[in-house]
Subunit: 241 residues, 2 copies
DNA sequence: CTCCGACGTCCGCGTTTCGTAAGGAGCGAA
DNA sequence: TTCGCTCCTTACGAAACGCGGACGTCGGAG
């Protein structure tokens, strides 16, 4: 890797490819993004952009619409042909058509010239936040599992899990309260919101959840049974066979 | 209530902090801005500016680059340390370097001396307008969809969509809040503005919107159903069949 | 006035999910 | 080992849910 990585606490926030033929603009933008904690790559024309992208696939592209040789739209199109990548377009002020065209081609946002670098950085962060569910909202994660309460999605090693409501809530509760053992009554109260009911309901749902979450549902590692007590979500403390 | 607040019907259009060591300039600028309907705060040096800003955080700062004691750039930098605020720089004529420097620090615009107060006011309005894009007048897009809230137009892959009012608002809301799951009650509140009502209304409108927006309405990819919860607009980045 | 689009409501239908029951397996103690 | 209790697994009926189609109303355009 190259330079930067400011101590801002964010670490490497992502790789951004800046494509602009105006050295001044490129310099300013790159400087800003660098100071904001991004690893910045630069290109001054279409082919160059594609080459850089091939070498180091960026997390986001800041793309000037007016480019010598290859149109910015064309660059965007080709980039998209290689893989999904967020794009922010730099367009001339007041050129509504260009903006719409850019968005239709697949740009995720646009900034009109002249622009303030501050605004650009804000948009970069906004787009990245939107494109990467891993960051941003208060997400729960442990042992390859991720649970996004806002989006109501859960993944296991990157692949999405098809959980029902109860399963989702149950998993979310476990992730929020790791390492502690909970009786069936507790779970029934916390997850179901009931003060009484058939406790076997909990048992069955735990089993169903295990079937979707555990690598080997027959020998659960995440949702462990605490004999005579209930269950406990353990973030893979130690391996035992 | 404090001073000014012109009766122009617009009320307080925003608070502007004018920082200039030349009393004449400051007086003229402040006068014009006040007459334009802004609440104007003044400071004649860097520390003073920071103090005023701390007392009443401005919506915009008009900042002289040449300041006794603390450099205008430094003031801008420190201001930015406290929070994001648009800045218009006053620079000496023809000083290209200063302009670049100003932009690097994060100025949103610059005006070269000598300037006409009228122009400054115009720029203030322009920057403020630009700095508040979240107010709903910004273009939205995702997955080949384009929504222009200002023009009330929406396109899909370049072709215009014939959306009704409700459908448009619904789509706009989804585009503004991608990746999150919303219950029918939430949508009813956010899009319809109702606190109660038949939730099937939401269901039906989602279906109608799907019919116009989805490639295969029977198998929606954009507006996904979150079973038992509601709906979620997903950009669907990276998923292939 | 009539026609037409938009909107809200309602009603079946197919599907998914839930809760419960019942039998079998596992665990610990005597 | 055997016994007693707990947990697992499976199955199934019922309820909940979402979907599509259709209807009646309202208001604006012709």
């Amino acid at each position: 890797m190259q330079q930067s990585n400011r101590a801002g606490g964010a670490g490497a926030r992502g790789r951004v490819l800046v494509v602009d033929d105006d050295p001044t603009v490129a310099e300013v933008v790159a400087g800003y993004l660098d100071r904001a904690g991004y690893v910045v790559d630069r290109a001054d024309d279409g082919p160059g952009a594609l080459t850089r992208a091939a070498a180091h696939w960026p997390d986001l592209v800041v793309l000037d619409l007016m480019l010598p040789g290859m149109d910015g739209l064309e660059v965007c199109r080709r980039m998209r042909g290689h893989g999904p990548v967020p794009v922010i377009m730099l367009t001339a002020r007041g050129d509504e058509d260009d903006r719409i065209l850019g968005l239709e081609v697949g740009a995720d946002d646009y900034v009109t010239k002249p622009f303030s670098p501050r605004e650009l950085v804000l948009r970069v962060e906004s787009v990245l936040r939107r494109a990467r569910p891993e960051a941003g909202t208060r997400m729960l994660s442990a042992a390859g599992l991720t649970v996004d309460p806002a989006a109501r999605r859960a993944t296991k090693n990157g692949t999405e899990l098809a959980l029902t409501i109860r399963e989702f809530d149950l998993l979310a509760f476990f992730l929020r309260n790791q390492g502690r053992a909970y009786g069936r009554e507790d779970l029934m109260r916390e997850v179901w919101g009931w003060d009484f009911g058939d406790l076997s309901t909990v048992t069955v749902h735990v089993r169903r959840l295990r079937g979707k979450v555990e690598d080997d549902p027959a020998r659960p590692r995440l949702i462990q049974t605490v004999w005579g007590v209930g269950y406990r979500f353990e973030t893979d403390a130690g391996e035992e066979d």
